[in-house]
Amino acid sequence: MNRRAQLSALLALPMLWLIGIYIFSLVMLLVTAFWVTDPFTSKVKPGFTLRNFEQIIANPAYATTSLRTLGIALAVTVLSILISVPLGIFMAKVASPKLRAILAVAITLPLWAGYLVKILAMRITFTEEGFFNSMLGPLGISGPGFSIVTVVLTLTYLWLPYMAVPVYTAIRQLPPNLFDASSDLGAGAGFTIRTVVLPLIRPAIIAGSIFTFSLSLGDYIAAKFVGGSTQMIGSIIASNINLNPPIAAAFSLVPIAFVVIYLVSVQRTGALERM
């Protein structure tokens, strides 16, 4: 009896949060996706229609945007992995303790600045007369400008810490003797990284990728400020959120579906237990 009371006390707030706010709002989103908008008054009326979904499927712009967003999220994830693994190996195995501390601060520094501040920083860097072009212009190199490439770079800049930190931590936690043993048995650094390091840090890479992937998938501010004409799923949802909430709600289910598919496919690897 007493134990039950204690358990209730322990779970009261989390359950209120989870069910009252979190689940409820998601369910409302799902329900809204089946509601109707009056085309004249733009008033949303409860009802049940599949028209919102039909519209999304019928209009190729939605499909293109979905695929583009998926591609951006995957590119951000891959780029984050490509940066984080060598960086993590360097920090954990090569750098002096002092340099390691400096790099650890440098990696997590973007987390301390505001989100919009970072996007503004990227905007200044890549704008027509910006830092990138003025530095490399004399060499005949011009930057990507405001385009899908800059969106990928910006999102990588925003979410890299979520990949770099778990990857670095995982590499640091590898027993140093494994590196010695691999080398002792004749393997060079590349072979060791491929056969020993990567398989052992895979759960950390997957954990990191869940963040980089899902955070990129839901973003639209980056596309708005540094993407030029690039549209992401979020851009379309944002523009419909007042005009046509049911369409926005229906389209919101696309990134949710992507993330669910992604989680299910990595769930077997055991990466989720490490988060």
Partner: protein, 352 residues
């Protein structure tokens, strides 16, 4: 100054046999700390050499320098006559058995043992054959498909050994390989290690802090202290004739005899079992150091009994007698008995 003169390593051989390891003037500094200082050590081909010393004495650092995991600060390392000082570990003809085994946790036992062959580009079929033989050698064929964490400590130890030996190195380095095992298993593994070394006939360099293990296993023992080698010699030499006070104390019990009491006027060490314990009325033997005293304590150890004797010259002498007769030594002398202790010069080791 070493009490035991080792024959100097032959310098006339143009090409030393595979398996010779030679360290010349090797030093290692970590920042301000000197881990190893100006070390000269020659290991003969096919020899079982133990590097014995307390933790922090530099023995593991020396092993890691031979493997190539640590660079030398100064000096040179030759392997089978070739200078390998600047050669990275993966290109050296040595393999290592690590203290905590360092098996790859994501590989099966067979994959672990075959890793070196895989690196070398040996075909899958050939690898399977050789891994099979290697596992047979350590009597663990049954666990080929398991993962390391499913094995016991002793099994993992043997897998680490098989993984290192499969590449047929000229020299096998073992870093306290039995340290994590319990006493009984450790003694079994000691015998097994010795047998395997005899079978494969390659040089074993074995790091340990266990003096009994070093004496039992080794052809020669190098005793380390504070980054220096205090003495190198056969088990018998370092035990019976310690060259320094440290060696005398580190390898079992020892009586340190001050210079004025020694036969030749130099400080020396006498092992307790070499001290004769006689009744006080026995006449002093000619040519022996002979002292009168009183038994202040007796300690029964099982196979032996130790007698602490406070001599008239102020030195406390430990005498040890085997409990092999009836009545046993235990009952021969008691606390407070007047006794004579003596030893001959050939049982005393001069300590430099």
């Amino acid at each position: 100054m070493h009490a035991s003169a080792q024959p100097a390593p032959s310098t006339t051989d143009a090409a030393p046999a595979p398996g010779a390891v030679s360290l010349a003037g090797v030093s290692k500094k970590f920042g301000d700390f000197t881990a190893v200082e100006a070390l000269d050590l020659d290991v003969k081909p096919g020899e079982f050499l133990s590097m014995l010393g307390p933790s922090g004495s530099g023995k593991t650092t020396v092993l890691r320098m031979i493997a190539g995991f640590e660079n030398v600060t100064s000096g040179s390392i030759h392997l089978s006559g070739t200078d390998v000082t600047a050669v990275p570990p993966h290109a050296r003809q040595v393999n290592t058995v690590f203290q905590d085994y360092a098996l790859f946790p994501h590989f099966t036992i067979a994959e672990n043992v075959g890793y070196g062959l895989r690196v070398a580009g040996v075909s899958r079929a050939e690898r399977a054959t050789q891994v099979g033989l290697a596992l047979e050698q350590v009597r663990l064929s049954a666990v080929a498909d398991r993962l390391p964490h499913q094995l016991s400590g002793g099994q993992r130890q043997r897998i680490a050994l098989a993984r290192a030996l499969i590449l047929r190195p000229q020299v096998l380095l073992l870093d306290e390989p039995l340290g994590a095992l319990d006493k009984q298993l450790r003694e079994e593994m000691q015998i097994e290690l010795k047998q395997i070394q005899r079978e494969v006939g390659i040089t074993f360099i074995f790091v340990t802090h266990d003096q009994e293990e070093a004496l039992t296993l080794s052809d020669r023992v190098a005793v380390f202290n504070n980054g220096r080698v205090e003495q190198v010699g056969t088990a018998r030499e370092v035990y019976e004739f310690p060259a320094t006070e440290f060696v005398a104390r580190f390898l079992g019990l020892s009586n340190l005899i001050p210079a004025e009491l020694s036969a030749d006027g130099v400080q020396s060490s006498v092992r307790p079992e070499r001290v004769r314990l006689l009744t006080a009325d026995t006449a002093a033997s000619a040519g022996a150091v002979s002292l009168l005293g009183t038994v202040s304590e007796t300690v029964y150890t099982g196979p032996t009994t130790r007698f602490l004797v406070d001599t008239e010259s102020g030195v406390r002498i430990i005498a040890e007698r085997a409990n092999d007769h009836h009545p046993s030594a235990e009952s021969a002398f008691a606390r407070g008995d007047r006794v004579r202790v003596e030893w001959t010069a050939d049982h005393a080791s001069r300590i430099g």
